[in-house]
């Protein structure tokens, strides 16, 4: 699925500072709607191979995206199940924000 | 299969999740008995918003005499098509009743009760469409228990399924039925 362009910039994004986020997931709440995976501006997420108790594939970090989260909060707010959120952490070196360069 | 051959009512419960088509399976079974086998039959199912995405059930009672109380209280035959259905309904099966489970989706646990294992989803995929899982199950059930005649079940299929889909459904029924015979059960 293609990266979506939301009509506006992510809320906290500033040119001067791109925060790094850590993705937290509550697998048992997930119903695999795909909103977080589909609309993460940095394409950080993918579906799990495992299923939860109800049989749903929940979000995990996509390949090579372990450091790509910019803590924009979009996945958190759009999740209808309150099953995902991000926490800001100290930015580590690396190419994590590649996805935002498209 | 004792329950099926007795003249008393036979209670059949299908347990599955949305999309597995158990409502159609139950309806076909009841229709076969009621319209084409000269028996009495009643079909009921569970409703409710909380049921969405969870286990649902489809119940059929077949009898020679008019059926008063319409609900299945203790199934003679239980078809469990995924794990939660088995968990919920397994304990209700009448002692000596017939248990049919989706081989790939249900683990019977230990000690495993006697059960017919049916890889219905896989078989449907082999036939080209998972949508006929339910009809494979129906074919197997009919072959395994004889609660309705093969002819009645086929007639029910013919008068229910859209013409374009009939051939696939008939093949699915046949596949299930044949597997039951192969497994050693004799139809009534």
């Amino acid at each position: 699925m293609a990266t979506i362009r939301t009509n506006r910039q992510p809320m906290d994004m500033e040119r001067a500072h791109i925060p790094q986020g850590e993705v937290h997931v509550i697998p048992e709440r997930c119903k695999e709607c795909g909103f977080c995976v589909g609309y993460c501006p940095e394409q950080v997420l993918a579906f799990s191979q495992e299923i939860n108790a109800k049989g749903y594939h929940y979000p995990v970090l996509a390949e090579h995206k372990e450091d790509a989260c910019v803590h924009c909060g979009f996945c958190n707010l759009i999740c209808p199940e309150l099953a995902i959120f991000t926490v800001e952490i100290a930015r580590q070196g690396g190419s994590g924000s590649a996805g935002s360069q498209e | 299969m004792p329950a099926a051959r007795s003249s008393g009512p036979v209670q059949i419960r299908f347990g599955g999740y949305g999309g597995q088509g158990i409502v159609l399976a139950g309806t076909l079974l009841g229709k076969a008995a009621s319209l084409y086998d000269g028996k009495e039959a009643v079909f009921t199912q569970a409703y409710g918003p909380e049921a969405r995405g969870g286990a649902s059930r489809a119940d059929v009672i077949i009898a020679d005499e008019p059926i008063d109380y319409p609900y299945v209280t203790q199934p003679d035959v239980l078809v469990a098509l995924f794990q939660e259905a088995y968990t919920l309904f397994g304990g209700q099966l009448k002692p000596g009743g017939t248990l049919i489970v989706e081989e790939d989706l249900v683990r019977l646990g230990e000690p495993a009760p006697p059960a017919s294992l049916l890889p219905a989803t896989r078989m449907a995929e082999e036939l080209g469409n998972r949508i006929v899982t339910n009809v494979i199950v129906l074919g197997f059930l009919v072959g395994r228990t004889g609660v309705v005649s093969r002819e009645a079940a086929e007639q029910a299929l013919k008068t229910t399924v859209k013409p374009a889909a009939l051939e696939l459904n008939m093949r699915a029924f046949e596949a299930g039925f044949a597997r039951a015979l192969a497994a050693g059960a004799a139809p009534a």
Binding site: - | T27, L35, A41
Partner: protein, 386 residues
């Protein structure tokens, strides 16, 4: 019935394995319904859905209204224009229709309201059974008025009684209620639909004079108390009002007019009760215990009576097919035999119809009640019978 081309068969003659709700819808079609106005509500929605597909295909009209207030008023308007009309709802929607039911009674507009009863009060258990709108059907609108109510116990009866309800509504120009319950509505069984020409149809009485020939008096009645009905658009220049009115349909705001009018509205049903009423007897001949039941509960009751008989208990079942009129006279006859020792009334409510039984006898009236969500089982009843 409309003359519009029918692209599908109106009467689905044949033998079917059919959902109760769908059987009701097919009964509406076979009974000649031209117009359905409704609003979705569980567990009646399947009636609307089937009619949304089937009715237009046979030249009828389906309108999904904005609410139940609109639903019932639209069927009354259609009725005034000559349509056989019907709506279907459940408890909360039924409550919303109460005001307009009084208008139907007062204007004498034939109509059928299906109430698929669920566990109540309020939102309750929307997907589960209740039988607790039975007294509401009788008393729910303000004032006294004539009405009838039937309660099917099977999909077959959902079909049959919908036809009967439409006939009774037309013949007596009263609102008629089909008091289904969720068990019967959501149960699939064999339903036999007769050939179209064997469906018994009774239509409303029509004026015996041409429009314009003489002044039409919309509420002039003969001995039977039922006025002939002219429809909108026929040239009779009808006037109708929910106010107390005279033969011309004009407001006539006097106590005497009111008293005569309301008594006539009630007498239309009272005097014809024997024609409207239906019930079913099972093993009553020597019964010492008489079970009185209706709708889904009567199924458990029949099974319990059968089982109790096997164990030697002298019991029988009076199954109410019409709940209103209530078969007072039949019960009095049973009492006159002198063999009856007690009554047992199982209901999915806290004891509504048993009150009617209590009016007729000082013998014990035992209640078997569930407030809703589940019907009494045969075992529940058997326990009381033995």
């Amino acid at each position: 019935m409309s003359d519009a081309p029918q692209r599908e068969q109106r009467v689905l003659s044949g033998t079917h394995f059919m959902l109760g709700d769908h059987a009701c819808a097919e009964g509406a079609l076979a009974g000649g319904v031209d117009y359905f106005g409704g609003y979705p509500i569980t567990p009646s929605t399947e009636i609307a859905e089937r009619l949304a597909r089937r009715l237009p295909a046979v030249g009828g009209k389906y309108v999904q209204m904005e609410d139940e207030l609109g639903s019932i008023m639209s069927i009354l308007g259609a009725s005034a224009a000559g349509a056989r009309s019907l709506t279907a709802t459940s408890g909360p929607g039924f409550s919303l229709m109460m005001e307009s039911i009084g208008l139907a009674a007062m204007m004498e507009l034939p109509c059928v309201i299906v109430d698929v009863q669920r566990a109540s009060p309020s939102t309750g258990l929307p997907t589960m059974v209740g039988q607790s709108d039975i007294l509401q059907a009788r008393w729910g609108s303000h004032g006294d008025y004539g009405m009838a109510a039937f309660s099917p116990a099977s999909p077959q009866e959902c079909f049959d009684l919908t036809v009967h309800a439409l006939n009774v509504a037309d013949q007596y120009r009263i609102p008629v209620f089909l008091m289904m319950d969720e068990v019967v509505a959501h149960m699939t069984e064999r339903v036999v639909i007769p050939p179209a020409d064997e469906v018994p149809l009774v239509h409303r009485k029509r004026p015996d004079h041409k429009p314009g020939a003489q002044r039409h008096l919309p509420y002039a009645v003969g001995e039977d108390g039922v006025p002939a009905m002219a429809h909108a658009g026929e040239g009779y220049k009808v006037h109708m009002t929910g106010l107390t009115h005279d033969e011309r349909g004009y407001p006539a705001l006097t106590p005497a007019t009111h008293n005569a009018l309301v008594n006539r509205l009630v007498d239309k049903v009272r005097h014809n009760a024997q024609h409207i009423m239906r019930y079913d007897e099972f093993e009553l001949d020597d019964a010492e215990t008489v079970v009185i039941a209706f709708g889904c509960t009567s199924r458990s009751a029949r099974q319990a009576v059968r089982q109790a008989r096997q164990r030697g208990a002298k019991c029988g079942l009076l199954r109410l097919v019409s709940v209103w009129p209530f078969p007072e006279q039949r019960i009095r006859e049973l009492l006159q035999r002198g063999t009856v020792r007690r009554f047992v009334v199982p209901e999915v409510n806290l004891g509504q119809l048993r009150r009617e039984v209590e009016r007729l006898t000082q013998l014990p009236v035992q209640r078997i009640n569930h407030a809703g969500g589940a019907m009494p089982t045969p075992a529940d009843i058997l326990e009381v019978l033995l």
